[in-house]
């Protein structure tokens, strides 16, 4: 098992900072869903991690804790994360990217 970044939607959707999407060294890894928070009554969308592309460097954790000061990102074991976004389940649309969240990867 290994660590990947996990973004707490409830904290992230209270802000509109998007800093982690800009500072991730991997392309197409931290993506942004404009509608993620709206279905639970929050104001903004939320960033999410395509876990199959994350290399676990934890730069986004530093950015979220020290630059944005939101503390929304934690490193978690990949089989402990409830719902995961995988590249094959991600769809892009104009000004949005959404993922069908899959159940945890076990084993």
């Amino acid at each position: 098992m290994y660590l990947v970044a996990h973004i707490d939607t409830e904290i992230c959707a209270n802000t509109s900072c998007k800093l982690c999407t800009q500072f991730c060294p991997e392309a197409n890894t931290i993506l942004y869903n404009n509608n993620a928070g709206k279905d639970i009554g929050l104001k903004y969308g939320s960033a999410y991690v395509a876990v199959d592309r994350c290399k676990g460097c934890a730069q986004c954790v530093w950015v979220c804790d020290n630059m944005a000061k939101h503390n929304a990102i934690k490193m978690e074991m990949i089989d402990q994360i409830g719902d995961q976004a995988l590249t094959e389940n991600i769809t892009y649309s104009e000004k949005n990217s959404t993922a069908i969240l899959a159940s945890p990867i076990r084993g």
Partner: protein, 294 residues
């Protein structure tokens, strides 16, 4: 070299990988995309084998997002870490044999000019400090003296990271490395000074801890290289392996180094300012109105 080269032959789209289909439908080709929209469109950079948390990867990713016309851009690189990522993008990449990258780019830029005339075709060289300041030094400087119209970007990690940590011309004096156990005995080369002497129209230093600044610097450099002459960007992209920086501290190190010895600097020639103001709408470079006589 047009928008059509990224599209499918009719009927074959459904057989292509998902990443390719996303790139055609939601990539940045033919659109105006910026760093602030990242995460909502498919980037041209794909998965690559560079180390986790590498600042060079972050810079390359931001540079690829910042290219003004990605569909009309060719990147040129050489041996070193950077080409591992640069070659994994959905735009053409030419591998210059070690140190030849600026010579290859010179011929490429001239050929594109002959073939396509005034249509914008951008050539961007991205190579490491060893490939540019040591082994490719002569070709780099000569391409500047010849006023070749392309952008040169140095990915300055201040070490030969790919081969085990030897000192390069851009390593700081006194720096101890795995393959330089007594510390470097000479000063860091002043490539910025040499670029200005050689006649580059735009010279800038940048650290990837400010994505919007990286974007603006790259856009300016590519647009000036299109119209005026050679441009040079020197980017600090730390090697977290050879300098033993924990990956989560890479951006902290960027901040420390930026405040210490890599402050943002920008030199723009008058001709380049005029081109930016009149051709690309950069209002800050328009000539200032004369003051009223009192």
């Amino acid at each position: 070299m047009s928008l059509d080269y990224v599209k499918f032959t009719p009927g074959f789209g459904k057989f292509m990988p998902k990443e390719y289909r996303d790139m055609v439908d939601f990539g940045p080709f033919g659109k105006k995309t910026s760093v602030s929209q990242v995460g909502t469109f498919k980037e041209i950079l794909e998965e690559h084998p560079m180390c986790a948390g590498c600042a060079m990867t972050l810079f390359i990713r931001l540079a690829m997002i910042a290219f003004p016309n990605p569909e009309d851009t060719i990147t040129v690189g050489t041996a070193g870490c950077g080409r591992l990522a640069i070659s994994q993008a959905a735009i053409p990449f030419v591998y210059g044999n070690y140190g030849d990258q600026n010579g290859v780019a010179s011929g490429l830029a001239r050929g594109l000019k002959l073939r396509f005339g005034d249509k914008p075709k951008d050539v961007v060289v991205m190579a490491g400090d060893g490939g540019m300041a040591d082994i490719g030094f002569a070709q780099t400087l000569h391409s500047w003296f010849r006023k070749e119209k392309f952008t040169t970007i140095m990915l300055d990690n201040e070490v030969y990271g790919n081969t085990g940590g030897q000192e390069s011309g851009m390593t700081n004096k006194g720096q101890v490395l795995k393959m330089a156990p007594l510390g470097k005995k000479f000063e860091k080369m002043d490539m910025l000074g040499m670029a200005k002497v050689a006649g580059c129209a735009y010279v800038a230093t940048v650290v990837p801890n400010n994505p919007r600044r990286v974007e603006s610097v790259i856009k300016k450099a590519v647009l000036i290289a299109r119209e005026v002459g050679p441009t040079y960007i020197q980017a600090y992209t730390s090697c977290n392996i050879e300098y033993a920086i924990p990956t989560e501290k890479v951006l902290e190190d960027c901040n420390v180094v930026e405040n210490d010895r890599y402050k943002f600097s920008e030199y723009i020639s008058d001709e380049a300012k005029e081109a930016l103001a009149h051709l690309y709408g950069y209002k800050e470079y328009l000539p200032k109105p004369a003051k009223a006589i009192e």
